[in-house]
């Protein structure tokens, strides 16, 4: 189940909101690996946003190796490229976050606990029962 909310009053631009929500739902398992995202025109039509907005989100997802375009022209959630380049990017983003936390006085153990907490509070993939 894919659920996207675009808030036009938010400071975040729509393409970023869409990107963040797709990422979040993939990580929580609401969208499974190898699931296809809707075509950008379809998503744009239902969300009532510009087609280019959705394209921008999808492009960003592709650039970051989260989805890829198959030969059948579908956007599919892939295992992701955790190649060296994306590992380096992840490393530097983590460095920033952790430096910030350390500067605020968080201890190393506290930081590791928080990371564990983030990983375990992702929602499980629910099968609906009605």
């Amino acid at each position: 189940m894919l659920r996207i909310t675009v808030d036009h009053n938010s400071k975040e631009p729509p393409y970023k909101q869409i990107y963040d929500q797709i990422v979040s739902q993939i990580s929580s398992g609401d969208i499974a690996m190898d699931d296809a995202l809707p075509p950008s025109r379809t998503l744009a039509g239902v969300l009532d946003v510009n087609f280019h907005t959705v394209n921008r989100s999808y492009q960003m997802l592709r650039d970051n190796g989260i989805i890829s375009l198959t030969r059948k022209r579908k956007y599919v959630v892939t295992a992701g490229r955790h190649d060296e380049r994306s590992a380096n990017e992840f490393f530097s983003r983590e460095q920033e976050l952790i430096s910030d936390a350390l500067a605020r006085g968080f201890g190393e153990e506290e930081i590791i606990d928080i990371i564990r907490k983030v990983l375990t509070t992702r929602s499980k993939n629910r099968k609906g029962d009605y």
Partner: protein, 369 residues
């Protein structure tokens, strides 16, 4: 009433059923849709809404009562009118709806409701993982269909070389056909076509994404329940229709003896179906708006905490609040505004083609008959 034919009774029941269904529509729409107009949360004063709902309700019931009188006095004389009369009721109800619609649309414009409202849009899609069709609901219909053919095949030798294939309104046969696979199983073949069509529609309905009503709490969960129930109901429809077809075939094959009110019992499954559809629609509400506590309420960080907010205004896509026209939207089917269920996107090029095709098919059917 002397000489009340079965057909008159059916027509009256039909008109009454349709009239009641139409009259309660305002009570089953999304909470943010008032007579086909998207109304932001801040402006839904309960008194105004209730007044409009009751006015429409009474108006439609009056129109229905008037139509019933006409059934007795005028309509039943003209066989052809009986077929289109229900559509006439729908049209009359539409004319009761229109003034309410324009009144609210005008207030919305004059008082500038949109500028002051929030602007969010939430879309809900079905991904491959959740797109399993609940096939179990299609089983009864398929069983009845199989029964029809099994009985027909077993009974085939006993059918006389000419047998009645059409019955007048008093139950007596008025047309006979020569026995052949085509004539004996014509009703069965029609059943197959209808069943296939329903399966196709159920598939399309289950896959079509929709915007949820942000101004309703837990709108995503309710939307999902709505989608499931609509799909299940459509899959169940062949169970009722095929039963009617089965009974009709049994009558043709001489297994049911003809009688004056036989036609009522043959159509009983169809009425049962109407009752089911109405009850489920009312309890569910469009996009689940009448569901109190969705049992599948999710507590994940994603959907929890979504405030009840007004939606981005989408009135421009809805002509008179009932016809959806949006060329940029790739969907064929979208949830209705005024009613429970789905309607076609008339801005989609395929829809015009489909309408033309249906029109041609109906013409052919009338021509054959």
């Amino acid at each position: 009433m002397p000489g009340t034919s079965a057909l008159e009774i059916i027509e009256m029941l039909l008109v009454a059923t349709i009239g009641i269904i139409l009259s309660i529509i305002p009570y089953v729409t999304e909470k943010s849709i008032i007579f086909g107009v998207r109304v932001p949360v801040e402006f839904r004063s309960t008194a105004q809404v209730r007044k409009a709902q009751i006015t429409y309700f009474i108006g439609v019931l009056l129109v229905t009562a008037l139509s019933e009188v006409l059934v007795f006095t005028v309509v039943y004389r003209y066989y052809l009118l009986l077929a289109v009369y229900p559509l006439f009721i729908v049209l009359l109800a539409f004319f009761v709806y229109l003034p309410e619609h324009y009144a609210i649309a005008k207030r919305k414009r004059d008082e500038r409701w949109v500028e002051q409202a929030n602007q969010t849009v939430t879309a809900q899609f079905v991904t491959a993982g959740t797109a399993r069709l609940p096939w179990v609901y299609a089983v009864p219909g398929l069983l009845v269909l199989i029964a029809l053919f099994v009985i027909g095949i077993l009974h085939y030798p006993s059918i006389p070389s000419t047998f009645p294939t059409h019955f007048g309104y008093n139950g007596a046969p008025n047309h006979y056909s020569a026995k052949s696979i085509g004539t004996v199983f014509l009703v069965g073949f029609i059943s197959i076509a209808i069943t296939a069509l329903m399966l196709l529609i159920a598939y399309a309905v289950s896959r079509t994404p929709f915007r949820v009503d942000n101004s309703s709490s837990q709108s995503m969960e309710k939307g999902e329940i709505f989608r499931y129930r609509m799909t299940a109901m459509i899959l169940l429809i062949p169970a009722f229709i095929n039963t009617t077809m089965l009974l009709s075939s049994l009558q043709m094959w001489g297994i049911f003896k003809p009688g004056n009110y036989l036609i009522l019992s043959i159509l009983a499954p169809v009425f049962a179906m109407l009752v089911l559809v109405v009850v489920v629609s009312y309890l569910t509400g469009q996009l689940g708006s009448n569901i109190r506590k969705p049992r599948n309420a999710d507590v994940s960080g994603n959907t929890a905490g979504i405030k009840e907010e007004s939606m981005k205004d989408d009135d421009i896509y809805w002509r008179a609040g009932v016809v959806y026209v949006n060329r940029r939207d790739q969907r064929w089917l979208v949830p209705k505004r005024f009613g429970v269920g789905y309607t076609l996107n008339f801005g989609h090029p395929g829809t015009i083609a489909l309408m033309t095709l249906l029109f041609v098919i109906v013409l052919i059917a009338i021509f054959i008959h």
